[in-house]
């Protein structure tokens, strides 16, 4: 994780074709595209629409509905910090405030050096050991602001 390929229409077509035969293929295709490129490029929308015989508006609607689909490239790593109640009960909000201040970014922002994108998330299922976060696919528990700012170098 973290190293994304630059946008490439041909590669995107191949990825789309691999999943197009699935029942209800839109989400699997978008996930596959985001896994490779890190986001859903604007040009991907008509490609998916044509492959699935749907309108661009429908695909755009799906991309914009789901929080997880990004429409611009993320930093080298993505940190998803939990904002939900169980993490709030152990100081999650204060951690989030400190992190945003220390990194100089708000939610969905990327640090200036391109190292880290900060995303809010509502629950990671690590609720007995909060505050919790997910760095790319690595779980973190009992998170402190220091541990996160260390990641952004």
């Amino acid at each position: 994780m973290g190293a994304y390929a630059p946008w490439d229409q041909e590669q995107a077509r191949t990825i789309i074709a691999e999943h197009a035969a699935l029942e209800g293929a839109t989400l699997p295709i978008l996930h596959a595209l985001q896994a490779v490129f890190g986001y859903i490029h604007e040009e991907a929308v008509p490609l998916v629409a044509v492959a699935l015989n749907l309108s661009r508006a429908e695909i755009h609607g799906v991309v914009s509905f789901y929080h997880e689909f990004r429409r611009s490239p993320p930093g080298r790593h993505v940190l998803r910090l939990c904002r939900a109640e169980a993490c709030q009960s152990v100081g999650g909000a204060a951690v989030a405030d400190a992190v945003r201040q220390a990194l100089g970014v708000d939610w969905h922002g990327t640090t200036e050096n391109g190292a880290l994108t900060l995303e809010p998330v509502f629950c990671l299922g690590l609720c007995a050991n909060g505050p919790a976060a997910l760095l790319d696919e690595t779980p973190m528990v009992r998170v402190t602001p220091q541990r996160i700012t260390d990641l952004a170098v």
């Binding site: 209800g24 989400l27 699997p28 978008l30 109640e85 528990v141």
Partner: protein, 503 residues
Amino acid sequence: MSRIFVPRDAVALALGADKIAALLSQFDTVIRTGSRGLFWLEPMIEVETPEGRIAYGPVRPEDVPDLISEGLLEGKARRLRLGKPDDIPFLARQQRLTFARCGVVDPFSLQDYCANGGMAGLERARQIGPEATTRMVLDSGLRGRGGAGFPTGIKWQTVAATTSDRKYIVCNADEGDSGTYADRMLMEGDPFCLIEGMAIAGFAVGAAHGYVYTRSEYPHAISAFDAALEIARDAGILGNGFDIEQRVGAGAYICGEETSMLESLEGKRGQVRAKPPLPAHKGLFGYPTVINNLLTLTTVPVILRDGAEAYRDYGMGRSRGTMPIQLAGNLRHAGLFETAFGITLGELVNDIGGGTLSGRPVRAVQVGGPLGAYFPPALFDTQFDYEAFAQRDGLLGHGGVVVFDDTVDMAKQARFAMEFCAAESCGKCTPCRVGSVRGMEVVDKILNGINVDANLALLHDLCHTMKFGSLCALGGFIPYPVMSALTHFPEDFRTVRRPLAAE
């Protein structure tokens, strides 16, 4: 050589379990398991000795060399020694049916699974036939564990009674409620149990295809379940008339609502459908569909294996069987506690949970996720039971219990509920889409001391509209946390604060 068991549960991984496993593998055979759910003791490792397994925890990677030299491999090291897992009070007090194997077996060993009671339910179902299988689920009293508490057997009967050449089984593993993690634990720790439960459901109603809709926030559960699917296919458990495919959500809480999940599986925006038609009649792609929570489906195998009466004997009133309760938040002993319905909230928080982690007094407990009510200690005699919670304007939801100490600001929690609803609303119905935004604004006015009495009255009225006018449980239940905060903690709404910083 004996064996050492090291969990691969996401919590244990966050605490260095992979490193511990690598260190220990130099000395002995390491088996990776799920978690037993004693999360304050993770990573909790277990060594096999002639007297049985001996647990140690919480073990950090740097503890390993010393533990080895003190005799860890024979269970002789004294430091961090917890004794036999089943004797640890937190586990000894439980009645584990759904979670019997979680943390015990290698999640990818079918041999382990079968040696510990797995597959007996599916065999029984095949012996007694589809109708008797559905009857057994009905007789067990099992109700939907996602929160609605609808009798599972009736859902199955409805789908079984339809005549369609295509039917689907959909498992709801979009465990979005804060404070819940039971689905994640089972997918990581006992994935074959879900496969068996879905195969039984498919057999009972005549469905050939199953989908598991897992949330994207669970990367380890997703990969564990995909691996288990492969193994089950190779072993011929899947692929002979019934198969399962896993689909991954994309961060939308609303997709845990059943009709929204169906839309999402069909590749659309996760917008709620009006009912009727019920999914049992017209569900996925318009075909009859059983849609059950993961905890419901993983409880089916044990019901088939041990019988409907054995399961129904647990519990109270109309809440039969056991519930995997998830203790979370500001709690000393937070973890998975499966027990018969009927235990009180106070027992869970104080006796089993050991009070707050911070050591401060408990002030509020939210049961049932972001749509659940906040209960004060004065209501700690409430029994864990669908009806008992409903009577006190609360709900059980998916069984999450989140504890807050006395530093919590309940007006802020009420605002958060509205904020969450605004962020996660699917947008289809006005009470939820607009009501949540207006609700946030009204709470802000109250927090800033503007026309407090009038705005409190307005908030009551708005909650009433949302409760009765929303299309689904998101807008319909968000008044629970808001109203419970208002009812039980009115003083927090009378304190004037400085204007809120812009978020």
